[in-house]
């Protein structure tokens, strides 16, 4: 089988508003994966070879010049900038208040890197200064709390967003997301993961579309942080997190809501807090911490779409995701996406009676799973390794059962919780006032 060989790739971005060198040193790298921007907004991505460890600036220029869409964008933006002045593409004057929520669990190294980038976030001029809420989800150690305490010292400096630590003892990513939204004070809650490094302008860009009240959620471009190992390289070849470089508006009137996964992922998304809290968008039967592994973010976007809100994908809101370096976690990741995706679609089918979920299942298998299987069977150079493809397919069959099992487990937990409350709560005290409740969330203020 003539599979493609791993190519170590350097990932970086260039902004055409800034000078570009004639020669870029790329020792040890065979390829360069470049995000090209103009005045911080995305233009295109390039994947260029680096012969002899050198990448010439002219090669980047030529590649941009031959990219038709990038050329059109440059022309469009140049004309608008020339006609309206430098602030032609500026953000709206009024920016809603915001909270960034980082859900973490025993990954202090990743969290430290993530917070480092969040500390450098820039708000729009005149925009509200927001806050960062770190939700520590059923941690085994207090490492995350110590990292937050370190950074809280920096927060004292003027202009830095406030940093808070919240603990959610119930294990599960969606428990953590919901807990973060309840603890947050911003009108908009922007979610990112602890293995992500956000762009300096991320919050400004992801808030822009919320000027329109119809917008319920905004997602952005998730780029690879590095491609240093075969596992990371394979993940990018599988498709990575990329959702393209064109802004898209998702609206249930012209988009099948069950395909909400096309809008983006939880590592780079923002939602209106009121909708998250009042609508209980994060379903605890889904996502990490349950046997479904993923799908909670997609389900939240599905719920927004069927409620008549729009979901916007904007490639200008950029984060850099550090894919797992090891091969084993990669297999688990692909399996998890497949299980979670089908668990989510089963949820749409079973709980909402949404028959379109069947169509989405068929489409997904046909366009994605079958494609990988076909490449593998035909021994195409772009084929993924067999164990990855099999893990991906396994998720198709496990996903629906995983959801049903997760639902059963969650119902049993709820029943036990209710029984415990009834036993412990004094007469006349309602469930929400139960003395158990405060123990579930602990917070340390800066």
């Amino acid at each position: 089988m003539s599979q493609m060989k791993f190519q170590r790739t350097r990932v970086f971005d260039v902004d055409i508003a800034h000078p570009l060198p004639d020669i870029l040193e790329m020792q040890g790298y065979e390829y360069a994966h470049i995000l090209v921007r103009w005045e911080t907004r995305t233009l295109c991505t390039l994947h260029l070879p680096c012969p002899n460890g050198i990448l010439r600036g002219q090669a980047i220029r030529d590649a941009v010049a031959t990219d038709g869409y990038a050329g059109w964008l440059i022309s469009d933006r140049a004309i608008r900038r020339w006609l309206l002045g430098p602030d032609a593409l500026a953000s709206p004057a009024t920016q809603p208040s915001w909270s960034v929520i980082v859900c973490t669990r025993d990954r202090p190294v990743d969290l430290r890197r993530c917070l480092g980038a969040l500390m450098a976030l820039e708000s729009a001029p005149g925009g509200a200064c927001g806050e960062i809420v770190v939700v520590d989800n059923a941690p085994a150690t207090d490492a995350a709390e110590r990292v937050v305490l370190e950074y809280q010292a920096i927060v004292q400096q003027q202009g830095k967003p406030a940093l808070r630590y919240v603990r959610e003892e119930r294990p599960g990513l969606n428990w953590a997301r919901a807990c973060g939204a309840r603890a947050a004070s911003g009108e908009i809650v922007a979610y990112t993961d602890d293995d992500v490094v956000v762009d300096r302008h991320w919050i400004t860009r992801i808030l822009e579309p919320f000027a329109d009240g119809r917008v319920g959620a905004v997602t952005g471009l998730t780029m690879p942080f590095e491609i240093e190992t075969e596992s990371q390289w394979l993940f990018e070849r599988y498709g990575g997190f990329g959702r393209g470089l064109r802004r898209r508006v998702f609206d249930a009137n012209w988009f099948r809501a069950t395909d909400a996964g096309a809008a983006g992922a939880g590592a780079n998304m923002a939602l209106r807090r009121a909708l998250v809290v009042d609508g209980q968008l994060f379903e605890v039967e889904l996502d990490a911490g349950t046997v479904t592994r993923t799908g909670g973010d997609t389900y939240a976007m599905y719920r927004l779409l069927v409620e008549g809100y729009q979901v916007i994908y904007t490639p200008d809101a950029i984060v850099w995701h550090k894919h797992r370096r090891e091969y084993g976690p990669l297999r688990d990741t692909l399996y998890g996406y497949s299980v979670g995706g089908f668990a989510y679609l089963t949820r749409c089918l079973v709980s909402h009676g949404d028959l379109r979920a069947l169509g989405s299942m068929v489409t997904w298998i046909r366009t994605d799973h079958a494609r990988h299987l076909y490449r593998l069977l035909r021994r195409r150079p772009h084929a993924l390794p067999r164990d990855l493809v099999l893990a991906y397919w396994k998720g198709v069959f496990i996903g629906p059962f995983a959801y049903l099992r997760s639902r059963r487990t969650e119902r049993r937990h709820r029943a036990m919780d209710a029984a415990l409350r009834r036993t412990l709560a004094p007469p006349g005290l309602s469930g929400t006032d139960s003395p158990l409740q405060p123990e579930l969330h602990a917070e340390t203020s800066p």
Binding site: V11, F12, D13, V14, D15, I16, A17, H18, P19, L20, P21, D22, L24, R37, T40, G57, R61, S75, D76, A78, I79, R80, W82, L83, L84, G85, A88, P92, R112, R113, L115, G116, A117, A120, E150, Y151, A153, I154, V197, D199, R200, H201, A211, D212, G213, R214, D251, A252, N253, W254, F255, A257, G279, E307, G308, Q310, I318, W320, L355, R356
Partner: protein, 437 residues
């Protein structure tokens, strides 16, 4: 039948036209009774029953007797349409400031005070408030779409660089000085059905120099319900009639009306609307059944298409009923006046003159450095920030000529720093982010 006319000077008169909506009007009255920051005795409330046959009158009598709203009066008149009802009420009002509310628009507690605060300056303005559609989980698709449409309109009219135009003048929650209203001639009773009368008044007010001001804090809640497919079609047909009346009245607005452009997706429905009535009835029934089925099966996209087809048909059927033939429609279209403005973009795009906002549709002759680049068509009133919209149109339609002009004259459209120099901007994804604090 009406209560005795109040003689005390009111600060503001509220005019509420209604037709057979007893419960809804009562909610409006409750909303008015809960106003803050203003004495209830300073508010005159005139409910115009436009031929109502339900027990609205009994309910209103009970309210008047209760004395909860000291300035409440009501009139029952033969059905003549919303425009006539509003006009009668406005001319009967005594306060300096008029506030028009629809009978399903329930004011928020600060509504009256917010309107009065705007008018305290004494300038000639009309204050456009929001009528926020009440959203609840589980709302049907129709209500979701109506909410989305209005939300988009309300959000757009307060954008930086955007001035409200006559299409933003919606009589559901708007206030203006009584003298301005009377000077404009008021609502035109020629608009008997749904729609058109507020755009007409907004246009005339702008022509006489009244500025439209949009403020999202001036808020009322709009209790809207799905009226059913038959009533929706009737409303859309009346909009077709109203557009003809509007176009006949104001030649300058004709070019911006929906009838000037077709609807590619529903071209067939437009043809059907202007041909056989028998075929129309059969097709409409089929599509209505299909829409109901799609709604039952959860097929939203197909439902949207069917609804669009039905409403397109209804609108063009309304045009057909008003104009009589395709030939007449073509003549009507040919009568549209499209003024041509010249815009010199040599120094960028400046804020256009205010008459651009008043008159809406215009063709733009774009000139740069003495050379004409071409003509940009503005297909209707601009409902987004105008400078940005004009820049979009130039970038879309005249990019080629503009780059050729730049090339010929040696003008650089790109900032000079682009792609030169010696350092790469790895910018935000810097490795510093991994450093400890």
């Amino acid at each position: 039948m009406s209560a005795d006319r109040a003689v005390r000077p009111f600060a503001l008169s509220v005019v509420v036209p209604s037709y057979n909506r007893r419960a809804s009007v009562e909610m409006v009255l409750h909303g008015l009774a809960a106003q803050r920051g203003v004495q209830l005795a300073d508010i005159e409330i005139i409910v115009m029953l436009d031929g109502s046959t339900d027990d609205s009158a009994v309910m209103l009598d009970a309210w008047v007797r209760s004395g909860r709203l000291p300035g409440l009066r009501w009139h029952l008149r033969p059905n003549a349409g919303q425009a006539a009802a509003r006009d009668y009420g406005a001319r009967d009002a005594v306060a300096d400031v008029l506030l028009f509310l629809d009978d399903d628009v329930v004011p928020e507690p600060d509504l009256v005070a917010s309107h009065l605060a705007w008018h305290a300056s004494g300038t000639h303005i009309a204050v456009l408030g929001d009528c926020e559609i009440v959203r609840e989980p589980g709302n049907g698709w129709y209500l979701q779409n109506v909410w989305g449409w209005w939300e988009g309109r309300y959000a757009s009219r307060v954008l930086r660089g955007r001035r409200p135009c006559y299409l933003d003048f919606c009589a559901g929650n708007v206030s203006l000085r009584r003298t301005d209203y009377l000077a404009s001639g008021g609502f035109d009773p020629a608009f008997r059905g749904y729609g058109g009368e507020d755009y007409d008044l907004g246009y005339r007010l702008m022509q006489q120099g009244v500025h439209l001001v949009a403020d999202r804090r001036v808020r009322a809640m709009h209790y809207h319900a799905f009226p059913g497919y038959d009533r929706l079609r009737r409303i859309r047909r009346q909009e077709g009639h109203a557009d003809v009346v509007l176009g006949r009245k104001h030649l300058g607005l004709r070019a911006g009306l929906r009838l000037m452009k077709g609807d590619q997706e529903a071209d067939r429905m437009i043809r059907v609307a202007f041909t056989s009535a028998g075929l129309s009835v059969a097709e409409i029934r089929t599509r209505t059944v299909w829409a109901v089925l799609c709604a039952r099966l959860g097929a939203r996209m197909r439902w949207s298409t069917q609804l669009n087809m039905l409403l397109t048909y209804a609108y063009w059927r309304g045009l057909y009923e008003s104009l009589g033939s395709w030939q007449a429609l073509e003549e009507f279209r040919a009568g549209a006046i499209v003024p041509i403005h010249t815009v010199d973009i040599s120094g960028g795009i400046d804020e256009p003159p205010s008459d651009f906002w008043v008159n809406g549709p215009s063709d733009l002759r774009v000139v740069v450095g003495g050379d004409e680049l071409g003509i940009v068509r503005i297909p209707g009133p601009v409902l987004s920030p105008l400078r940005a919209t004009l820049a979009d149109r130039v970038a879309d339609s005249l990019a080629g000529p503009l780059w050729m002009w730049a090339d010929r004259t040696g003008t650089s459209l790109l900032p000079s720093s682009s792609w030169t120099g010696a350092t790469v901007a790895t910018a935000t994804r810097s490795t510093d982010a991994t450093a400890a604090p």
